[in-house]
Amino acid sequence: MNAVLKLELIVGLLASFTMLTIFIWSVKKGGFDDSKKMMDGMLFDSEEDLQDAVNRENKQKALKEKKLKDIKKAKEEG
């Protein structure tokens, strides 16, 4: 009985500390800086928004690559 209790406690603690770690990481990344957006944002979560996020990432990647190329080119020329 004692062993079961111990196990339950350890698993419970591990689970809650994992959640806490994820939460702290999210706060530090600024995920909770905007309380209003965080609450209302849930209402708008949809597949379309996920697709938008993917498109945004692709666009950022392309722009960064282009910028790097431009800088490289400018260096070669200058």
Binding site: N2, L43, K67
Partner: protein, 801 residues
Amino acid sequence: MSIVKCTHCQLEFDETVMITEEKSPDVYFCCNGCQGVYHLLKDDGLDSFYEKMGNATIAPPVESDDNAENFDLESFKQRYIKTTAEGFSKVDLVIEGIHCAACVWLNEKVLDSTDGILEANINFTNNKAKIIWDEDTIKLSEIIEKIRSIGYNAYPYEQSAEDVKASSAQRDYFLRMSVAVFGSMNIMMIGVAKYAGYFSGIKPENLHLVHMAEFLFATIVLFYSGWIFFRGAYYGLKNKIINMDLLVSGGALITYIYSMTVLFGANGHSYFDSVTMIITFVLVGKYLEVLGKKSAVDTMDKIKSQVPLEATIVEEGVKRVVSLDEIVVGDIIEVKNGEKASVDGKSIVKESIYDESSLSGESLPVEKQEGDMIYSGTINSGMVMRYRATKNYANSTLSTMVNLLEDSLASKPKIEEMTNELSKYFSLTIILLSIVTYIGWYLYSGDLEKALIITIAVIVIACPCALALATPIASLIGISWATERGLLFKEAKFIETFAKVTTVVVDKTGTITEGNLTVKKQSQELNPQDLALLYAMADSSTHPVSRAIKKYLEQEYEKIEIVELEKIEQLGGRGLKAEYKGQTILGGNSKLLDEHYIELDSKSDYTIYHFVIDVRVVASFELEDSIKKDAREMINYFQKIGVEVIMATGDHEKVSKKVADEVGIKTLYFGMSPLEKAELLTSLKEQDKIVVMVGDGINDALALSKADVAIAMGSGADVALAMSDVVVLNDSLKGIKESFIISRRTYTFIKQNLLLSLIYNMITIPLAMAGFVIPLVAALSMSLSSLIVVGNSMRIKTKEL
């Protein structure tokens, strides 16, 4: 006539004044702006915005007079645009017109889909946006135009050191508070097992295991979340001040150390749960304080973003764009239509028109002659004009107002100082009592552990709870009651101040009066042909008088033929001139008639608009700003209960006196500038009066910041809303009376609660000191006292308003 909602902004209007479309009979628009944005969003596949909006309303889009190309100027770039490590450009903006989460969604979505924009992140809480873009692909002016095209506007702001500090403090406190809440919730769950074990029996080894888990959570909460209290107590002691932080950290630490001795072998009960509870409750209160400070910084950034960026000076016929700090007294400054004057000065042109609503609150533009003062922050509503600077930027009206607002935001919470002062004595008394208890019991019994347990009981029983809850719980119920009635109290402390009010100062335009001109009298009926011409004339100007005439015609006449006028000419300060099929048409004031040698006896106390076709006066209209229907009732109520009511307005004597007489106000101050209004408030406060200020315009912002309680009407200017402590959402003056009644009743209950908790402390502290209360009972009685206070507070809402 039925009321319908505008399909875009969702504001309600009479169906007859709405713009409709033959192709889609179900859509209605209140203006061309709304219609334009609606079609733009529909064409771009963004019409799901309207589903996301729900029941929220937004402001109809307003065409901006600012030239977006200013955003591409070199001086702008140097001041506001930063370069990221990867070589992209970054700017911080304040987005105007964001009302709901759907607005944020729409702006982000539109910006995200624009080529060249890497990141567009808008903070809904403070309407600030961070935009990162590639300068080679898109210009900032194009991004601003994009935002304007969907009905919003954007201003740059410089991220101040205070903003960075406030944001980081907010994040830090949020994290500490969340960890404390996490720890408390876990300990509460574990506590169920522990307290159940007291009654049903629990094996010592299992109890030890439970204590170990509690110890783990309590350690994290005490030393991570509670660190700020230790820090506060340390700095307090260093400066020889005993503060609430010392009581909280000291009480929690002693309880923690005692519980540890129990965990590692001593007899007794552990109180790790009390440790986390004490830290968590007090930390939540602290976090709310930090949020308040952050919102003050955000307000200041919004105000600063309204300041013009640069000015055009003319030197020997050559124009040069300079930053505001470079302007010196004597410089000639050129101001285009729609631009703001940057510094104070004197006009050097014969005639010009200025919108001084930011200073006087009056919506009618003011005519300026050569030599008249031009104030910074006012907008040129006429042609391009020039004036000579008489002050530099730092000493000008606009800069003085911004500085005064900044000071007032920093110095507002004086009631907080009083509370801290009180809690200092309370903390000191409790610490002294617990030391006396410890020494007394140790000397009396010689038992160290017993002395320690009794001392902890004293600290636990006296710790925050009832006394700390007495005010917040009653305030919370009062505030929620007020919110249900459309009255937003930004902070609980204003309930107390409002309840003690001795003087109410009200603004005129927009507060006592509707703030819009309406036609009171029409001299003659119009035939359909004249009606069509007058409507076309009124429709071709955005002047408040023209707008009022247009609205009146739409309400009075069911069918108006649409005709197109030719050669429309704005005659500054007089009206409009146009032609139609060879006829000369005039619309404007008596000066316009004099100028065209048309004789008419038209003396009136009201604003007059004459409509003339080929020197024949077709009709004259008298316009007036009407008084709100519940103004008299509200003023009577305050006067009846002995509260002095004063009217302070920027308008001239004649109109102000008429309004004051009509609503029964005896004390009147007219022709006041924003600074004079603020001085009036200060002088009233110096006479030991508790002053409530009610206003709605930018011109009231400074006076609002000086008031003990600032009340703004919901439809007021953004700055006025930001400076206010209470917002009356429905614009009704009855709301002010209701918020006073709610405040007074809540304050009565706060006093009752304080009395109850005082009685509790007077009974329990001596009992605990005498050793009759063990810490467990102390913790229970602490909860019981809280319940009594909560129960009493629930009675606040039982009164009918």
